[in-house]
């Protein structure tokens, strides 16, 4: 009998505590949990780094909890968010997505503009002014500010400086010099190539291609949000140059090179003398290579000219979520872009720091003194054009990729391919003109 009573009592207590626990969160209005989607694939160092920032932020703001969702690459994050919103789920408060996704995100009504937050912050104006200008190119649309640069990179050429020195070669300063250097550094054993002069990934080709076009004086996009110049003679010439690197100079594997992930390792292990890749690979390369790694923007066509293009991700704040979450998310954005943190992120990850202030910090100055390559990489930003961003980006980019790869693979001549790309892109952009 007593046992029964006791268990009844225990049950009652359990029920009560259960109810209390269930009620508890409702009584306090403070705690907010926000999610941030972050595109890392296998980059555990970056995920670990980012988790560290989150911890620090939560210490400073005990009523905010930040949950990071690391899900694949940029494309995966975008698709995941699209399907989430589309599937009736709640979008995250924040996401790092390609800077160039701007128009699609605004058109779909996923993101909200940041202007009210910037205006409300006392130092808002100064905060915005401190970002490196070329990283802000894709943040404005429709007279509003939509994103904050965060994980930014640029296209670079990395080279094995030891091999250059052995061969008595200078880093190339023109297309012709580049092709010849590549030719000179290609090594063969009979018919088989044992070391390439250049590896130039083109599985997802627009980004690495852009510096070639810019280096010839014509970017593939214009100032408007629906302007493309795929069939400009200078762009066609740039396509031809990519083909020439393998056909004329024999310095590069023929056709499309689906070797994005493999290229840095290939340079580090001596399978190639040069690679074209993201500045985000700098740290990995500095760690892996047992030779001096040279870093520079891509040579332009004319002697003494160089070109690059920025890339990477910005922070976007989502619409259709609670005000409290948006406020917390904005706080986190500000936290992430403090100069000290931006400097630390750059030093630890290899990405650029997004603001000028970061380069003035002691930590950054010390680091750059030890690794001159970091400063060399930054030169790329001064010679960079705008990254490929237009309305209806997904479709237009697909069109461009499709024909660019057909040209690379010799299925169409560069002129034919680019003319076809232009025509199809015009159709896809018709509705936006």
């Amino acid at each position: 009998m007593t046992l029964r009573k006791l268990s009844a009592l225990a049950l009652l207590v359990l029920l009560l505590t259960g109810m209390l626990a269930a009620c508890a969160p409702k009584e306090e209005t403070g705690p907010v949990t926000i999610q941030i989607y972050y595109p890392v694939a296998v980059d555990a160092p970056i995920a670990a780094l980012f988790n560290g920032y989150i911890e620090k932020f939560q210490e400073e703001n005990p009523n905010i909890t930040v949950e990071a969702v690391y899900s694949g690459g940029y494309g995966d994050v975008k698709t995941a968010i699209q399907t989430t919103v589309d599937g009736g789920g709640e979008p995250p408060a924040l996401a790092v997505m390609l800077a160039t996704d701007l128009y699609d995100l605004v058109n779909a009504g996923y993101i909200r503009s940041l202007d009210d937050y910037i205006a409300a912050d006392e130092d808002g104006e100064a905060y915005m002014q401190d970002f490196i200008a070329s990283f802000m190119e894709n943040s404005y649309y429709d007279g509003k500010t939509w994103s904050i640069p965060f994980q930014r990179s640029a296209v670079l050429m990395y080279y094995n400086a030891d091999l250059f020195a052995e061969a008595g070669l200078e880093p190339p300063d023109s297309w012709a010099a580049w092709g010849e250097a590549g030719q000179a550094l290609t090594q063969k054993d009979g018919d088989e190539v044992t070391r390439w002069g250049i590896e130039f990934p083109s599985g997802w080709p627009y980004w690495l291609f852009q510096p070639l076009a810019i280096g010839n004086g014509q970017n593939i996009i214009g100032a408007g949000d629906a302007e493309v110049y795929f069939d400009d003679p200078k762009v066609i010439e740039a396509v031809q140059f990519y083909i020439d690197l393998s056909e004329k100079y024999g310095a590069m594997p023929a056709g499309v090179q689906s070797i994005w992930g493999q290229a840095p390792t290939d340079l580090a292990s001596g399978q190639t003398a040069m690679i074209v890749h993201s500045s985000g690979s700098l740290n990995t390369l500095l760690e892996q290579a047992d030779f001096e790694v040279g870093v520079m923007p891509l040579p332009g066509k004319a002697a003494g000219t160089y070109a690059s293009v920025p890339g990477g991700g910005n922070l976007y704040l989502f619409d259709n979520i609670d005000q409290a979450k948006q406020d917390a998310a904005w706080k986190f954005i500000r936290f992430l872009s403090e100069p000290e943190r931006a400097a630390d992120f750059s030093i630890q990850s290899g990405y650029f720091a997004s603001c000028k202030g970061a380069y003035e910090t002691e930590a950054m100055k010390t680091y750059m003194a030890a690794h001159p390559q970091v400063a060399q990489a930054r030169v790329a930003l001064d010679v960079g054009g705008a990254e490929f961003s237009v309305q209806n980006l997904g479709e237009v980019r697909n069109i461009f990729h499709n024909y660019l790869q057909q040209a690379y693979n010799g299925e169409l001549s560069p002129a034919e391919a680019m003319a076809a790309a232009q025509a199809e892109a015009e159709t896809a952009l018709e509705a936006f003109k």
């Binding site: 296998v42 995966d76 789920g89 992930g261 993201s278």
Partner: protein, 278 residues
């Protein structure tokens, strides 16, 4: 005599062919295992793709720490068991109805269900995605599993098996006053066991391996299965292809199912053989 010799020679040739093809077929798995034990700072190169300078398990620890494999495992296992549990019930009772009873519209209903075999669920992922979101199931394990709760394939298979059960036995059971579920449980099911196992294992393998549908209807760690977790490793982002890491992650995903299969393989293949799939 010469005939016998010829047969012997033929047998021997077949043995060598079997051995050669088996090894060829196994090469990818051998390589995966060896590469996963290669130190990460010893990148692959021309003519140097097998053993590194030493063997290490470090890749496994690193891969394990990089993605919440524990959670993914739990999700995959719950998913597979959930689907199998529901399927075994729905399939058994439907097959029983189609075998044991005569009723109006039987043929039409059976054909209707067979539609699911002709139009695989994967082809319908776009409209099914809308259904899932309307049901409010987005990003749940249930969302991954629910389209498969009814199985035309299973109903079809099990009905074939039930049809083989001797009519006399069924009649005897009916005369003894068995209720429908007693008939099903004691008379129909026991001889159909191999079919049930064959179907169950196929179901487990298929759903353990499924990728595209979970990729679409889930987005958080708490509901994503192993396959979608693995893909995080294949999209290498901005750092180099780390084959040793990638292969270790692959084996983390594949390993348990492989081991289970090795233990049950004889049973598995036998049940296929006896399941009346002919």
């Amino acid at each position: 005599m010469s005939n016998k010799l010829r047969i012997r020679a033929g047998q021997l040739g077949a043995n060598f062919l079997t051995l050669g093809l088996s090894l060829l077929w196994l090469t990818p798995v051998f390589w995966t295992l060896i590469a996963s034990l290669r130190p990460a700072d010893d990148p692959l190169g021309r003519g140097n793709v097998w053993f590194g300078y030493t063997l290490t398990l470090a890749n496994y620890w690193r891969a394990w720490s990089m993605a919440p494999f524990g959670e993914y495992y739990l999700n995959t296992i719950s998913l597979v068991l959930m689907i199998l549990g529901v399927q075994l019930v729905t399939v058994t009772i439907a097959a029983f109805a189609f075998t044991h009873y005569q009723f109006t519209g039987k043929k039409a209903l059976f054909f209707f269900i067979l539609l699911q075999m002709m139009i695989p669920t994967s082809a319908l992922l776009a409209p099914n995605f809308s259904t899932i979101s309307k049901l409010g199931l987005f990003d749940t394990l249930l969302a991954i599993g629910i389209p498969y709760f009814g199985s035309a394939f299973g109903t079809f298979l099990l009905r074939q098996a039930f049809l083989e059960v001797p009519r006399d036995l069924v009649d005897a059971g009916t005369i003894d006053g068995c209720s429908w579920w007693q008939l099903l449980w004691h008379i129909y099911l026991p001889p159909s066991f191999p079919t049930l196992i064959a179907f169950g294992l196929s179901s487990v393998i298929w759903h353990w391996n499924e990728f595209l549908w979970p990729l679409i209807v889930t987005n958080s760690t708490s509901s994503r299965p192993l396959t979608t977790g693995l893909v995080r490793f294949t999209q290498l982002g901005e750092i180099g292809a780390q084959w040793s890491l990638l292969t270790a992650a692959t084996l983390l995903v594949v390993g348990p199912l492989f081991i289970i299969f090795l233990i049950f393989q004889r049973r598995f293949i036998q049940s296929f053989v006896h399941s009346g799939l002919k």
